[in-house]
Amino acid sequence: MTRLLAALAMSMALSGVALAHQFKVGPIEVGHPWSRPTPPSAPVASGYVKLTNGGAETDRLVEITSPIGKRAEIHRSLVQDGVATMRPLTEGVAIEPGATVDFEAERLHVMFIEPTRQLKEDEKFPATLVFEKAGSVEVEFVVQRRPAPAAPEDHSGHGAAP
């Protein structure tokens, strides 16, 4: 028992920097909204979430607003044939029943345009996510350098850094 508690305490300590946080609206769970630090004068900032639909119907993330930027869009960045591209998803992001849409894994990001300030590590900022069926939910983005620690299928190698 003592050993179990020690292990638990250890794992909590290790994950301490960016403890996962989540929000819920209707059957939609919004997992660990996070954003990368920005350089000074950066014209854009990023945002990532994990959306899980526990309901029986497909829902859709249709809008994001935040006081951190003039407006927000959802984009997909891809590297195909050695060329990086980025396109807005004008139809929003569909979340099938029982499915999870992990922005980081699917190369999606929220782009906050013309951020009002430079984002620094460990800061937080609020945003509102609007779903077609579930309605809107207030969330908080945490600014961190790397993807959330609890991403099991992260092959990006970021975790290998010392």
Partner: protein
């Protein structure tokens, strides 16, 4: 130059070309698809003359890099993930390389000089290792630089008068003779990335 030295150089060049081809064919690494592979003659087609302006306002051309290995990648600041992440990773790598890092110059060439002004880049670059140089040019200079590295970029109009830029991905490694020596995937395990950079520095 002695025969042995010549042989050594030729061997390393062959290894670099082979490595480049292997990386190109593996399909694992991003950023290699449209990069023209070095031709069979041993002359790399990636790497050529360019003249641009640094974020500090100095004219910066390929002659300045003579005898020095360098890294080069294309991007733009209206990109919220890949570009700043690459700059941050390069910042970390420069710190981890220690004194060897002084012998390598990472270059970030903007493919969006219209929005990435020199003043803006000067501010932006304060967040990263001071040895990393951001470069911009007129549309003609930008075209020439992109062509020199057999790279690609394109302005993509979006709704509302906005636009995005498509561009060649990946960090190119160039040796001290200005020859292409492969693409660096900064998402590989850190030790592998550091080992590649150390080899590039040692080869000079």
């Amino acid at each position: 130059m002695s025969g042995v030295k010549l042989f050594r150089i030729a061997t390393w060049a062959a290894i670099a070309i082979l490595a480049g081809l292997l990386i190109g064919f593996s399909g694992i690494l991003p950023g290699t698809g449209r990069v023209d592979e070095p031709a069979g003659s041993g002359e790399a087609r990636v790497g050529g003359p360019f003249t641009l302006t640094s974020h500090k306002g100095e004219r910066f051309d390929n002659a300045r890099l003579a005898g020095k290995p360098y890294l080069i990648f294309f991007g733009f600041t209206h990109c919220p993930d890949i570009c700043p992440t690459t700059l941050l990773e390069l910042t970390d790598l420069m710190a981890e390389l220690g004194s060897g890092a002084d012998r390598i110059t990472p270059l970030f060439i903007t493919v969006d000089p219209e929005r990435d002004t020199q003043q803006m880049l000067a501010d932006y670059m304060t967040a990263f290792d001071e040895r990393i140089v951001a470069l911009r040019g007129t549309p003609e200079e930008t075209d020439a630089a992109v062509k020199a590295f057999a790279a690609y970029y394109r302005k993509v109009p979006l709704e509302g008068g906005n636009y995005s830029m498509d561009h060649t991905a990946g960090v190119f490694m160039m040796d001290g003779k200005g020859r292409f020596s492969g693409v660096l995937d900064i998402h590989e395990p850190r030790e592998a990335v550091l080992a590649k950079l150390r080899r590039l520095i040692e080869a000079g």
